[in-house]
């Protein structure tokens, strides 16, 4: 318990500096806007800010606080359009449309907005408490990991991410492998051999992960937006009604919120399953629980519990996904992979050692997450109209703005034309890959983890002079292999079974 208080005091000591408070507020604000704008999600926002934070020479904990605030802010922002116009602002807010939009149609838009902000806040608070309890335990356990364990752990992370993300795991594997091969470009650290550089000096250090990520997530995304021309949307938040939820509504949704928050956190901690999965599972779970007991439940037609469940779950899952990155150094989602890449720009490797070596980064981040959540909750209730008005920015202004900001970020890294050209090239390839349903998150994870994965494999094999047996020797490696196989096989099999069942039902009907 005293260790917990120590951690909290370190954390809040870092978070309560004026700079960091200001950065958390700015990050929350930007993040909410990113979440509101369709086509931009947390990963795009974080990716675009990484190089800018680095170029501004923010200290690492401040940069991480900014990125984390943007991430959480985007989860808050995504729900605004879900409720008001039935268009999820980002992937994890899809489930929020189910009951949020019907509520808005019934004239309860402001109540729905404030109640979902509250559910998000409670979900995050539960997750932060979970992080405080779980993170030191996991870090303490992982500190004994050798290179073989790390290698297998990364294999597990890839299996989880590819099998949970898409309908077609083979494309996920392909994406991960392409990402890993991108990471092999440049001088090989062990032997000094140049790999795939083709005598281009700019490639000697490898391809910067920022170039890849911005190419994939900003440039390719804008190309996809060009397929369908959309005008700016102006939406009204109805004025004359009640702004805030009342106590009865709070009590009505309380246990749903808490349950979904806990569930979301557990799902978020697993690598691969992020906020989108968590919100879908929480919604389905609440629907099943309440519909059995409460004949008046009207899920899908504007039930407040159907609104609270996915919002609590997606925020707690987003927070929970920090755990694998911070404690193991192996991010479990695209967005945390980008954040980990940001830390490597500062030559900081997240992982169990970080808890002892630089506790101010870990605990400062966690405390800031809490503060950012308080700010977001306070910001989101009165400023909803400001955020919603961002939707009226026409695309002919918005898209060039996003592109120019992306170029600024990539240019800020090394100041070369080469990086900019490379980013456009990656964007073009990324566009085609997106068209063919190749998921982007495993690729980002591959680029970020590639070097670590190869180094750990080679180190492990050096210990045994090339004998592969070391990868299957310790209890931890065997456990991780089993987990990797299970996570690779079970969800696709489960999906296959439900599809078969649905087909059978359709055949009978």
């Amino acid at each position: 318990m005293s260790a917990l208080l120590d951690h909290l005091s370190i954390g809040f000591g870092v978070a309560f500096s004026w700079t960091n408070l200001l950065v958390a507020a700015i990050g929350s604000f930007i993040g909410t806007i990113v979440g509101v704008l369709p086509g931009l999600g947390p990963i795009n926002g974080v990716a675009m800010l990484v190089p800018i934070a680095f170029a501004m020479q923010l200290p690492p904990e401040t940069a991480l606080i900014l990125l984390a605030a943007v991430y959480v802010g985007a989860e808050y922002g995504g729900r605004i359009t879900s409720i008001l116009i039935n268009v999820p602002g980002e992937a994890a807010a899809v489930m929020t449309t189910m009951d949020g939009y019907p509520l808005a149609r019934q004239g309860l838009a402001s109540v729905a907005l404030s109640l979902s902000a509250w559910a998000s806040f409670i979900g995050s608070a539960i997750a932060i408490f979970g992080i405080l309890l779980l993170a030191p335990l996991l870090a303490g356990w992982a500190i004994a990991f050798g290179p073989a364990e790390y290698f297998v752990l990364m294999v597990f992370a890839f299996c989880a991410l590819t099998s949970l993300l898409g309908e077609q795991p083979v494309k996920g594997i392909l994406a991960a492998m392409v990402g890993l091969s991108i990471s092999t470009i440049g001088v090989d650290a062990n032997s000094g051999v140049y790999r795939y550089t083709f005598d281009i000096p700019n490639l000697a250090d490898g391809m910067d992960f920022v170039v890849v990520v911005i190419g994939l997530f900003a440039v390719a995304e804008m190309m996809q937006m060009l397929e369908k021309l959309l005008g700016g949307v102006s939406i009204d938040v109805p004025k004359s009604e009640r702004k805030l939820f009342n106590f009865k509504e709070l009590a009505f949704t309380w246990w749903t919120t808490v349950r979904s928050g806990v569930l979301g956190f557990c799902i978020g901690v697993l690598p691969g399953a992020g906020a989108s999965v968590a919100s879908a599972v929480a919604y389905a779970n609440e629907k099943k629980i309440t519909e059995g007991k409460d004949p008046n439940a009207k899920f899908g037609r504007g039930d407040l519990r159907g609104l609270a469940a996915p919002e609590a779950a997606n925020n707690s899952a987003a927070m929970g996904s920090f755990i694998p990155m911070l404690t193991l150094g192996v991010p479990g989602s695209g967005t945390t992979a980008v954040m980990m890449g940001a830390l490597t720009l500062y030559n900081i490797t997240p992982g169990p050692v970080l808890f002892d070596a630089q506790p101010q980064i870990v605990w400062g981040l966690i405390a800031s997450l809490f503060i950012a959540n308080v700010m977001l909750f306070l910001m989101n209730v009165p400023l909803v109209r400001v955020f919603a008005s961002m939707l009226s920015i026409p695309p002919w202004l918005l898209v060039p703005g996003i592109l120019a900001t992306s170029f600024i970020g990539v240019y800020a890294l090394n100041g070369t034309t080469f990086d900019l050209m490379l980013m456009v090239g990656v964007g073009l390839i990324g566009y085609f890959l997106r068209k063919m349903d190749v998921p982007m998150a495993p690729m980002v994870l591959g680029v970020v983890l590639g070097n670590m994965m190869e180094q750990n494999l080679r180190r492990a094999l050096s210990i045994t002079n090339g004998d592969l047996a070391i990868l299957f020797q310790s209890g931890i490696t065997i456990g991780l292999w089993v987990a990797a196989v299970l996570v690779a096989v079970v969800p696709p099999y489960w999906r296959y079974r439900t599809r078969k069942k649905r087909e059978n039902l359709a055949a009978q009907a």
Binding site: I173, M177, L180, S181, L229, L403, T417, L433, M436, G466
Partner: protein, 147 residues
């Protein structure tokens, strides 16, 4: 030609061949470890090739074609971005950004006058915000002496 899984599989096979061709002769002049620099890339190439084969044989999943005119717009935007990247340093941030914003803004259906005004303001505004405000150094280019 429609995009489908078979095409993706062929691309994966080509990529795997590329990795193997330029990776098979990577040798360390002095080696202290059992696994050299080429093992990992070749392992990746193998897995990519297997994924590629699976996609080629299974096929299917034709991608819906873009609405008419979209391909041209997308190609124009790629060209505009390549030009933007190429002239970014030489023309300087303000001018190149204004030009890019004009072209891309037009592609997204903005009117001439509004887009032009927006583009110029965008170039100047972002320069002031990032270069002067946030200390992120941006190229001044041919406006070098003015800024």
């Amino acid at each position: 030609m429609t995009l489908n899984d078979r095409l993706l599989g062929v691309a994966a096979l080509v990529f795997a061949a590329f990795l193997t061709w330029f990776g098979h002769d990577l040798e360390a002049p002095f080696s202290y470890e059992p696994v050299g620099p080429k093992a990992f890339p070749l392992l990746l190439a193998l897995i990519i090739a297997l994924c590629g084969l699976r996609l080629v044989f299974k096929g299917g999943n034709d991608v819906e074609a873009n609405p008419p005119g979209a391909n041209l717009r997308i190609a124009s935007m790629v060209a505009a971005l390549a030009a933007y990247a190429f002239f970014f340093q030489w023309l300087g941030f303000v001018i190149s950004t204004a030009l890019m914003s004009l072209v891309v803004g037009k592609l997204f259906g903005g009117g001439w006058l509004k887009t032009a005004i927006g583009a110029v303001l965008m170039g100047i505004g972002l320069f002031l915000a990032f270069d002067k405000g946030l200390d992120v150094v941006l190229p001044a280019g041919i406006l070098g002496d003015l800024l």
